[in-house]
């Protein structure tokens, strides 16, 4: 009977060690229990009866492969050998898938062996099992003792049907595992046959190879320590003699033992879960400490391989275009999943898109499974199992992680797959997060750089615009100043024109009227005629004077050639300059003093311009003086730097010039006083001409004035 266990998706194959009492069955089972990996078996249970024992344990972790998706596991039983425990024997034998008959090789045990072997046939039939077809293996035990049958004698005694037979020494384990391997293989084949798999030759071959590969490492280098069995106490057998009751008790005990076995298995699973959770905790801690995507990927990959108990695998991650790219690889020359199929498909991509953990026991019997050659590929690389976990974070495909188990590792169990799925989920999120953070950081850095660049640009632009604004403001100020100057000039021009017009029109009007009078009427008294003729003469000369000064100023302004400089006696120059203002000096009773420095006889100059300039200065000094004021004229040599000059100084005690007016007095046509009521006579060319004349002589004109006290004008000419 094949026990299918749907909860664990496993098939339990029951192997019963049968034989005469004290023949070595228990020792065999103890030995097998001892040498198998504690992780892959339950504890050894004992159903204690009065004087014999029934032992059993489950071998869960042997990588025997799968049948119809169910993992193959083994359950090993012994039966009590004593004749009187037949009920127990029969009960234990129920549902057996294979039998190991442990015979006692001692010559004195011939009868016991035969009886037990016959009892086996009987009990098999009683349990509905066919003694002709049930897998059976013989162990000729106690080969180390004296007085034993030869192998041939044993064969003749028990093996008429030619069962596989092994000479064994249960106490030291000799031959025990070989016999165990043989019954396992035979039982698996028998089950496969019963399930109709025998027809698939290659599947069967693979299954057998798998079983052999699983059993091979069980033969130990040295016997391990003995583990004390768990004792389950039962009611004593034989007291009641009621066979049915006994069978019931044995069944109940077996069931209880089986439950206990399951509990033990659950405890182990729990322990494994705890280990897994610890691993996951470590894993998530490791991942949370890593920041850079590369670090996270490496940490993830390494932990995954460690926790999956493998040394080969790879991490494939989606690039920006969503294509899988191999990021990390270990123990593989190339990732088989990254090899394109003849149809041009990438198995890794397909597995990722399927979004399901995929694993393959490369020795399992699963006909028709599509692996796109992946399993074959991995198998050809020498791996026994393969695992691929799609990495998906927040419904986005991140990548795929694979693990390949070597034959020694055993197949990936449910717990492994669960752990792999969780690790995959955690790893996917960690990788996605690290990538997102990385991108964000990159973006931040870029943003910072951009902001810095923009700030620099802006501040530059700001500085530029400030400079521009300043420039504009300056330009504006200049423009305003220029405008004010223009406006002033415009006003000034109007005033100038009126002054000039007044100055010229007045004598012209007088001349014209006088002329008309003289021509209009013949009867005019003589004295009147004389006075009008006088008007004509005076106003004519006034006009001539104006015209002369205007022409002179114009000539100076045009920079007209003056001819060579002439040495003119200073006394003569000053006398001539004073001549035009003599009348006014007398009228206004001005006191004029002339001082010429000793030894200064002549001045080298252009006589007429210099005389006109000095005359203009004197005219101003007299005209703007107060009545009975004084004018002091001084001539002296001076030095200015390397220049040798002659200085003419005209000091008056007149009205003076205000500070505001001072800069303008040398402008042509400029005149002090109010236009309508205070305008002096003349065109206002005096100081302008004097300045020009000084410059003409390589000198300068300086004016100092104190309003109300007087003005000093200094005209210097370069001593020729």
């Amino acid at each position: 009977m094949v026990q299918f266990d749907n909860q664990y998706r496993q098939v339990k194959l029951k192997i019963v060690y049968y034989g005469p009492a004290l023949g070595g069955k228990t020792t065999c089972l103890q030995y097998i229990h001892r040498v198998t990996d504690p992780q892959r078996r339950t504890r050894l249970y004992t159903l204690n009866t009065a004087s014999d024992r029934t032992l059993f344990f489950d071998l869960l972790g042997l990588d025997l492969g799968r049948i119809r998706g169910y993992r193959l596991t083994l359950q090993l039983f012994t039966v009590p050998g004593q004749v009187q425990y037949n009920t127990t024997r029969r009960a234990v034998l129920a549902g057996a898938d294979g039998v190991v008959f442990v015979a006692d090789s001692q010559r004195n045990q011939e009868k016991a062996n035969l009886e037990s072997f016959a009892n086996l046939q009987e009990n098999l039939k009683a349990n509905g099992l066919d003694p002709a077809t049930i897998p059976l293996v013989l162990q000729y035990n106690k080969r180390d003792l004296p007085d034993i049958f030869t192998r041939a004698e044993m064969d003749r005694l028990l093996n008429a049907k030619g069962y596989p037979a092994f000479e064994t020494v249960a106490t030291t384990g000799v031959g025990v595992m070989e016999a165990f391997a043989a019954i396992t293989e035979a039982t698996v084949l028998s089950v496969a046959d019963r399930l109709g798999i025998t027809a698939q030759a290659d599947a069967l071959t693979r299954l057998v190879a798998n079983v052999r590969a699983a059993m091979a490492p069980l033969v130990p280098a040295k016997p391990p320590e003995v583990e004390a069995p768990v004792v389950i106490r039962t009611a004593g057998e034989g007291k009641l003699g009621a066979e049915e009751l006994m069978a019931e008790a044995v069944r109940a005990n077996t069931a209880m033992a089986d439950l206990s076995s399951r509990l033990d298995h659950l405890a182990k699973q729990l322990a494994r879960r705890v280990e897994q959770l610890k691993a996951l905790l470590t894993f998530s801690q490791v991942l949370s400490q890593a920041r850079e995507p590369d670090e996270v990927a490496t940490a993830f990959f390494e932990r995954f391989l460690v926790d999956m108990g493998v040394t080969a695998g790879s991490l494939l991650l989606c690039n920006a275009k969503g294509e899988l790219v191999e990021v990390l690889r270990r123990g593989l020359a190339a990732e088989p999943l990254m090899r394109k199929t003849p149809q041009g498909l990438l198995p890794a991509q397909q597995l990722l898109e399927a979004r399901q953990v995929f694993h393959a026991n490369l020795r399992e019997l699963l006909p028709g499974q599509t692996t796109e050659g992946w399993v074959e590929e991995a198998s050809s690389l020498g791996f026994a199992s393969a695992l691929a976990v799609p990495l998906v974070a927040q419904d986005r495909e991140v990548g795929l992680i694979t693990a390949y188990g070597e034959p020694g590792r055993g197949p990936f169990q449910e717990e492994d797959l669960e752990l792999a799925a969780i690790m995959g989920a955690v790893g996917a999120v960690a990788v996605a997060n690290a990538r997102a953070w990385h991108a964000l950081e990159q973006l931040n850095r870029n943003l910072e750089a951009m902001v810095a660049a923009r700030t620099a640009e802006l501040s530059q632009a700001l500085a530029k615009s400030e400079a521009l604004a300043q420039e504009l403001a300056e330009t504006n100020r200049d423009l305003e100043a220029a405008y004010r100057k223009l406006a002033e000039l415009d006003t000034l021009k109007g005033e100038l024109l009126r002054r000039v017009a007044h100055e010229l029109n007045t004598p012209v009007t007088a001349l014209q009227t006088a002329g008309r009078i003289l021509t209009r009427w013949e009867q005019i008294p003589k004295e009147k005629v004389a006075s009008f003729v006088d008007v004509v003469v005076q106003e004519s000369s006034r006009l001539a004077e104006l015209i002369a000064s205007a022409l002179q100023a114009a000539a100076l302004g045009l920079g007209e050639e003056q001819g060579p400089r002439v040495a003119v006696p200073i006394a003569e120059l000053l006398r001539k300059a004073l001549a035009p203002v003599k009348g006014e000096i007398a009228d206004r009773q001005i006191k004029v003093t002339v001082k010429v420095a000793a030894g200064l006889e002549t001045v080298s100059c252009y006589p007429e311009p210099l005389e006109a300039a000095l005359s203009a200065l004197l005219k101003n000094a007299v005209e703007f003086n107060k009545p009975q004021g004084s004018v002091v004229v001084t001539a002296m040599p001076v030095r200015k730097g390397s220049k040798s000059l002659v200085e003419f100084r005209v000091e008056d005690t007149g009205i003076g010039i205000s500070q505001e007016e001072l800069p303008h007095v040398t402008e042509p046509f400029y005149q002090g006083g109010a236009l309508l009521t205070g305008k002096p006579k003349g065109l206002g060319l005096g100081l302008a001409v004097a300045k020009k004349v000084a410059e003409l002589h390589g000198g300068e004109l300086e004016i100092q004035s104190q309003p109300g006290q007087g003005t000093t004008v200094v005209l210097r000419v370069e001593a020729g």
């Binding site: 009126r498 017009a501 007045t506 007088a510 009227t513």
Partner: protein, 126 residues
């Protein structure tokens, strides 16, 4: 009665020639050398017409004109502004000051005489 004209000018040459010409043309002429003197003479003996120079010491012609027109006793005196400056602005300013006429120097004697006779309300003998 011959119409009375007051000639106000600071330039003796103009004052002398103008007053002689007006006397010869049948006007009764008085003279003043500046604005202050002019106002004093007008108050004392108001003429029909004042021939008023603009640019004068002490008080300029515009101010004198304004004073004449502002005083009800002399407001009827006709004022002819006479200026050598000859700018459009001066004409406008003269009229603003209340002047009855504006004549630029140098002037046309016949035109001036016609104007004076019109203003004096007496055609005279020419």
């Amino acid at each position: 009665m011959r119409p009375k004209v007051l000639v106000v000018d600071d330039e003796p040459a103009i004052r002398d020639t103008l007053s002689f010409m007006l006397e010869m043309e049948g006007f009764q002429v008085a003279v003043a050398a500046d604005g202050v003197e002019a106002l004093a003479r007008i108050a004392q003996d108001p003429p029909e017409v004042v021939l008023l120079d603009v640019m004068m010491p002490k008080l300029d012609g515009y101010r004198v004109c304004e004073a004449i027109k502002a005083d009800p006793r002399t407001a009827g005196v006709k004022v002819v502004m006479l200026t050598a400056m000859g700018q459009a602005a001066d004409r406008a300013r003269a009229l603003a000051a209340g002047a009855d006429a504006y004549v630029a120097k140098p002037f046309d004697e016949d035109g001036l005489l016609t104007l004076l006779r019109q203003l004096a309300g007496k055609p005279g003998d020419g």
